[in-house]
Each structure stands twice: as C-alpha cells, then as structure tokens.
Symmetry: C2
Subunit: 251 residues, 2 copies
DNA sequence: AAGCGTTTGTGAAGGCACGCACAAAGTCGT
DNA sequence: ACGACTTTGTGCGTGCCTTCACAAACGCTT
C-alpha cells in the first residue's frame, strides 16, 4: 500500500513462516534455535509511530497498562490490527491484563531506531523550511536538526531557532562528519533532483521530500514524499463524489 | 494502502466500454441493467494527482501524446499499473499511439473534481499556517484559499499573501456562505479535536489535519492526516535496518 | 487450588492490489 | 490495400494486508 514512497523495500529475505517451501529432509520445520527472525510488514511499520504517540499520551495521563482495545481506540485503529502489528515485535503483553505502557513504548521506540537521536538536515530554508526548522515536534521525538542549508545569500547567515543557515557548499562536510543523516528537502521542484543527487553523493540514505516532483535515487536510498496538493486533490475527489450522490446522480 | 485515512469509499459507475455484457435477460445474480458500476479503487485515486502532475509537466514540454510507458516513467510508477489505473476512468487512449496529453489531463481533473476551484480555509496561522497560506502551489492546482483563522489577537488582522487573518468566530459564517469547503488544520494538537468539531458543525466535510493527534469525525466527513514526525520515524526504521545489516547483525 | 472472567496472540479466510502477459485495436509504411 | 509494428486494455495468478474468531494464558476471587 503505501506505496512507492520507500524505494529499497524488502526487509530481509527471511520468510515469515519458515515451515513453508524448503522441504528437504530437515526433520524439524526449521532449526532456527534462536529468536525466530520475523520481518515487520511495511504497513505495520507505518503505524508504529501512531502507537508510539498514543502510548506517550496514555503515559502522560498516568496509565500504567492498556488493553489492546483501549490503545487501538487511542490510535484510531482496530484492536485486531493493533495486536497483530504488535505481535511482529514480540510478545510484550500480558494476557488478561494488557500491555505495560512504558515497556511497550520502549520496545516500539527501539524497533523504530529511536534509541539515539537522528541527525536531520533541512535543505531549502524558504517558507516551509522556516516552519520545519522552528518546529519543536522533531526534537521531542528523537530527531535533532543539525544543519540548515540554502543557496540564497539573503537567507544564508540568518539564524532560525538557534541554528545559522549555511551555504549549500557546507552540506557535504556536515553530512560526512556526522553519522547517518536524514535530509528534509524543501527546495523548489525544479532543483529538487539536483539537490537530492548531491545529498546522496554526500552519503545521505534517507530523504523526506516536500517538492512536488518524482525524484530518482539509487536502490539503497529511501525516499518518502509529502505532497500537500495531492492530499487536497484526494479530498476533492471524495468531496465531489459525496456531492454527486447528494444530487442523486448515483446511488 | 493508504489506509484508514479516508472514510467513505465507493465510487461512481463511469463505464468504460458500454458495449460490454449487458444482456437484459437479467436473470443473473445482479440485475444492473445499464452502465455496470465500476468503482475507482482507493489506491488508484491516491495516484491520480501524480499522473495529473506528470501530464502537466509533459504538456509544458510540448508533448501532445504519451505512451503509458513514458507517462509511467514520468510519474514514477510501473506502466502496467498506470494503464490499469487509467482503465478505471474509461478508455481514453489510442492503441498503437498512446494518450493525448491534454485530453487525459482534462479527464483526470474532471474525475478528481477539479472542474471548479475548491474553497479552502486554513485554521491556525502559526509557523506552518503561514507557510501554507503563502504557498502558490494550491491556487495553481484548483484550490483557492478563502479564509485564514486564528485565535491569537496578535495574529488576527495580519495580512498574509493578500488575505487578512480573521478571528475564529468568523469561521462559521465563511463556511456557510460559500459552498463546499475544505479545511486545513494547523493548530496545536491539544485543540485540534475541538476546532475540528466546530468546523464539522459549520458544514465542513473534508479536513486535512497537520496536528499530531487522532481526530474523530462523523462518518460523512473525510479526514486525511499529514504527520511529519511519523514520516521521519519510518525513515529512521529503515535507516536503522540498513545500519544493522551493514554491521552484520542480520543477513 | 480451582474456577471464572478477561485479554492476548495467532491460524485461517477473505479482499485488495500489483504485475505479467497477451489479444485486440489502431497506426504507419509500402 | 495490406502487412508489420506499436501500444492499449484486461484476465489472471500471486502475494500482502486486513478481519474474524478462538484457544491459550493470566490475574483475581473464593
Ligand atoms: N510552502 C508550502 O506551504 C508548501 C506546500 C507544499 C509544498 N511545498 C513545496 O516545498 C518546496 C518549498 O516551498 P517554499 O514555499 O518553502 O518555497 P520557497 O521558495 O519559499 O523556498 C525555497 C527555498 O529553497 C532555496 N533554494 C532554491 N534553490 C536551492 C538550491 N539549489 N539549494 C538549496 N536551496 C535552494 C531558496 O533560496 C528558498 O529559500 C517547494 O518545492 C514547494 O513546492 C511548499
Ligand atoms: N511547524 C511545523 O513544521 C510542523 C510540523 C509538523 C506538525 N506541525 C503541527 O502543526 C500544528 C501547527 O504547528 P505550528 O508550528 O504552526 O504551531 P504554532 O504554535 O506556530 O501555530 C499554531 C497556531 O494556532 C493558533 N491557535 C491556537 N489555538 C487555536 C484555536 N483554538 N483556534 C484557532 N487557532 C488556534 C495559535 O494562535 C497559533 O497561531 C501543530 O499541531 C504542530 O504539531 C507543525
């Protein structure tokens, strides 16, 4: 479902159900003595952040345990889906009781890779870049903005929420000196591909793209796209359908 | 795929090939005498905006016709998927040639409901609201921002790209006097549900929510959510997986 | 210790979407 | 006018995701 956003897909080859195809004479179903490798479906991954947020809210409300029913309600999904999602992470619930809020939060955060703070650079400090740079919701969720970049001389040098906007040429050094880095692209559509190429060349392997263009990257790079105009158009589609139904054009 | 975001589904008939199999001896399982209703799958709907954008780019490049292969390339999808998607809208291609750019663009725009300009109000003119209000990409795609609202007295009265920010109390009047309206929610998470309730009460049936909260709405209202922190977390998940593989923890 | 109510974890079934592969349909060249 | 070539539209198989339904597991009460 979700789609074509992430490029490198396949998790590890490991089948979920080991007992499937290879039936040579290996007596037991499989001899995996240890933790039983299970890949997490992409659809599940896309929901984990929501569970995490719901758990944070519940923890703040003082709850120590939640049932799958209550957590699902808070996250806006069905309880069965929630349980199956969590089952891919392991069994952290207690039957008859539910899940311990703090513990489950920790496990999901671990699985998402939020143990250490990820480095984020924002490229293109225009309208949108300014808003994102000043957003507190990133730091509070395990991301720290370590660089703001732009080509416009009138923007470079400006200080946005404690960070000085730097020229695009400092980009490579910043990406290389730090470890893994996530790049947020808020440049005009026309230059998005070029800037992205440069990011990738510098070693970036995760890109969040706000420019309304398809950008092409090597297989080992993940790109997710946020397209506000598309979202509005999808809403318009459904709104139109509702309008037609009301008029009686269709059942 | 996409998910639980949009509430209502089912589409309208829009038959492709009228000469199909309607035999009036409707003794069969269903008696649909006429056009044979075909719904557009939600996954397809979510891709239509991208096709539309690709077509705009191709038109601007001066092309009059495109093959499914070329259009798919421009839109970043597979050609088979593209053809199947377009087939839900009807048969607008010419075998051996491809699709006429302008005509196909028009058909998709029609189907998305972009014939007339949709009214959009933005509620919460903070960091993000300012950026969205000043964004030209909406007007150019069939949406016109007709209202900016906030509660903060220091923000109300400010003029953002030609529109004066108005107090929240003017909201009902604006929504009611105009026709169907799409609301963009860029208020703090804590008040999102309350503001949304007010929007729905005023008659809004389409909401694009940027606040990191699950908001509950009646069945007839569509909500789509844009969650930047979640996008980053999903990228982090894949980045972590890649890192582990590189270290050799997993095959 | 045993029973009872609650809740998890998961097998199984159904639905949806994707991609392949090809016949139908049209164009272009001769 | 006809054949060769190109490209659409779609039937079909496959795999993923969702949903249902329930046995196993656990706490609590007696
Ligand atoms: N503003 C919005 O609400 C909004 C909404 C949806 C999508 N977008 C998209 O986000 C992107 C940015 O939007 P915006 O409104 O901030 O535009 P903007 O013009 O205000 O900002 C773009 C910034 O990128 C910088 N830039 C240009 N070329 C660059 C380069 N090669 N390298 C680095 N920086 C460069 C510019 O100097 C400018 O500061 C656009 O692609 C836009 O379509 C914006
Ligand atoms: N800024 C970002 O980059 C960013 C990124 C992701 C998500 N978000 C989310 O978007 C929302 C807005 O973010 P922001 O950075 O613009 O915050 P902000 O605080 O700058 O803006 C919020 C605005 O909403 C107004 N407001 C508060 N209560 C209101 C009410 N009841 N009715 C109408 N207006 C009201 C405030 O006066 C303020 O102007 C938040 O929920 C935030 O979590 C923002």
């Amino acid at each position: 479902m979700d789609d074509d956003v992430v490029r490198s897909a396949r998790l590890r080859p490991g089948r979920n159900r080991p007992g499937a195809g290879d039936d040579l004479a290996d007596l037991g179903p499989c001899e995996s003595a240890v933790p039983m490798p299970v890949e997490v479906p992409e659809a599940t991954v896309s929901r984990l952040p929501q569970y995490l947020r719901a758990l944070s809210a519940l923890a703040e409300a003082g709850l120590r345990t939640v049932s799958s029913e209550a957590l699902a309600e808070a996250a806006g999904v069905g309880s069965a889906k929630l349980r199956k999602d969590l089952s891919y992470l392991g069994s952290y619930g207690t039957r008859g009781v539910g899940y311990e809020v703090g513990e489950l939060h920790q496990h999901i955060a671990d699985r998402l890779g939020l143990t250490s703070s990820w480095r984020v650079v924002i490229v293109g400090i225009g309208n949108l870049g300014h808003a994102l740079a000043g957003y507190g919701g990133f730091a509070s969720r395990g991301f720290s903005v370590v660089g703001l970049f732009d080509v416009d001389p009138t923007v470079v040098g400006e200080v946005v929420s404690g960070l000085r906007v730097r020229p695009l040429d400092d980009l490579e050094a910043t990406v290389r000196e730090g470890g893994a880095t996530i790049a947020v692209l808020t440049v005009p559509a026309g230059v998005a591909q070029g800037v992205c190429d440069r990011l990738v060349a510098a070693g970036v392997t995760s890109v969040l793209n706000f420019a309304p263009t398809v950008i092409r990257v090597p297989d080992h790079v993940d790109v997710r796209k946020v397209d506000l105009a598309s979202e509005l158009q999808i809403l318009a589609f459904h709104a139109q359908r509702k309008a037609h139904v009301r008029v009686g054009e269709v059942v």
